[in-house]
Amino acid sequence: MNRVHRRTLVLVASLALLLGTVPAHGEADAAKPLEVYAAASLADAFTELGRLFEQRQPGIRVRFNFAGSQQLATQIEQGAAADVFASADERWMDYAKERGLVVGEPTMFVHNRLVVIVPRTNPARIGRLQDLAKGGIKLVLAADAVPVGRYSRTVIRNLSHTEGFPADYAPRTLKNVVSEEENVKSVVSKVQLGEADAGFVYRSDISPVIRRYVRVLEVPASANVVAAYPIARVKDAPAPEAAKAFLDLVLSAEGQQVLERHGLMPLAANGP
């Protein structure tokens, strides 16, 4: 009896999971949705851009796949039906370009900077970046394959050559790394939950909600990186016209304003 119940439960649950993975289609005759594969750090900004796009282009729905850029590149390589690819660094866009996965020259559309976040409760009493080299700090970075992970390591190296920082700052700080996360949002949540003492993330990750949970330590501009985000249309995109329109929106003054509102730096503001 209750074995039967249990089976039913498992069956229903697995069905639910299966259904959950099937993309929810609207009416059969509606236009193909636009599939945008974008770096996890763009999640908030692009979600708003997506809403804007749907207002402008009635009948076209935008669907996002936010993940680490390295993951998106691999998915597109394996034949995912993406229309647009927006990467958090040139490495993974180059990777896609070399394999002929994107159309035309990728366009840089926004910049980002790194900051360090610590939980509001600040259990390790980190007041300045030098404190990250103290023994026993639980520092969380993204893995080296993730754009922000590589940027973080560059910043740490830069800091060890910066005045006011010890020469062995980099090795000591890297020794404090307790986890290498798969994307930047996982770094944010580990700090937000108070499990990690500190983490390197993008400035754009500090949404108003996140700000309630974390304290932000700025990285001096001299040691910071300028993360440049390229965007491109994917080859054999199922919805090429919509992809083009989406790129236009991202690069338009209005699109750039949206990005700026989410802590990203528009191209113009960051000119040489």
Partner: protein, 279 residues
């Protein structure tokens, strides 16, 4: 039930149906594995094996999954016994609780574990007072694996206990054997096939555990990066390495299940399986 249906059909048709279903299902199961195996040579797998990251991951996977299985066995078998032999209020809730990790997406489980045993979690503060911290530690990996593996031990063990001949247990009782004595000297040996099935399944689940581990314990080579995590990380940067690691994991899991299946007294598994499946 299946037998009745089969008998009422024309034998040839039924046989064809069974054959077709078997070929379809087995092909579906085998194809991904074959695909993996075709992508790399044995030499390549062995070459990757020698990398420190892989050795670390292998060692860590071995230690943590053995530890997790041991915990699951020691704590799971008494619970299985309880569920198989007793009625008590709230039993349904206990049953669901034990089954829950099967249904829960592992990432959710990992997040829930953080809420419970994280630094700011309910039990985490108590642990911290004892100087124990689970997130980002090898111990945390074991905790995540135990959480996910429990149902795979309790399920078969319980079914196995429940299918024991009551008369044997009653006979022991009439001889005034204490329950503990009956449990260790009558129930445990008789239920062994089902218990071993539980050990194999929960061990395999612990070995393959990914989502709860990366969410709860994090990902650091040598400390928390088990084989599945190493595969995942490699998948994002070095596809060939990922394939080699996957093959390795596949061979290990296959060996584990095959070994336990053919280990002692050949016939036990068939019986244990039939019991574990229930009717």
């Amino acid at each position: 039930m299946a037998e009745v249906a089969v008998r009422s059909l024309r034998p040839s048709l039924a046989r064809f149906g069974v054959l077709a279903a078997s070929v379809l299902l087995l092909g579906f199961l085998a194809l991904p594995f074959i695909g993996l195996l075709l992508r790399v040579s044995a030499g390549e797998v062995l070459a990757r094996l020698a990398r420190p990251v892989v050795i670390d991951a292998l060692r860590l996977s071995f230690i943590t999954s053995v530890a997790a299985t041991a915990v699951v066995v020691v704590l799971g078998i008494p619970v299985a016994w309880l569920l198989a032999t007793r009625e008590f209020p709230g039993k349904r809730v206990v049953e669901v609780l034990v089954d829950l990790p099967v249904v829960l997406p592992p990432t959710v489980a990992g997040f829930a574990l953080l809420m419970a045993f994280g630094r700011a979690g309910l039990g985490g503060r108590a642990l911290a007072a004892l100087g124990i911290s689970l997130p980002f530690t090898t111990l945390g990996v074991v905790v995540a694996q135990v959480f996910m593996a429990v149902p795979f031990m309790v399920g078969p063990a319980r079914a196995s206990f429940a299918s024991l001949d009551r008369k044997l247990l009653d006979a022991a009782a009439t001889l005034r054997a204490r329950e503990a004595f009956t449990f260790f000297h009558v129930a445990l040996p008789l239920a062994l096939p089902g218990l071993l099935a539980g050990v194999a399944m929960s061990g395999a689940r612990a070995l393959g555990e990914f989502g709860a581990t990366i969410t709860f314990a994090g990902n650091l080579p040598g400390t928390t990066q088990t084989m599945p995590l190493a595969v995942y990380v490699a998948l994002q940067s070095d596809l060939d390495a990922a394939v080699a690691l996957s093959v390795l994991l596949l061979v290990m899991a296959f060996g584990l299940l095959l070994g336990l299946r053919s280990a002692p007294a050949g016939s036990f598994w068939g019986r244990g399986d039939a019991r574990a499946q229930g009717h």
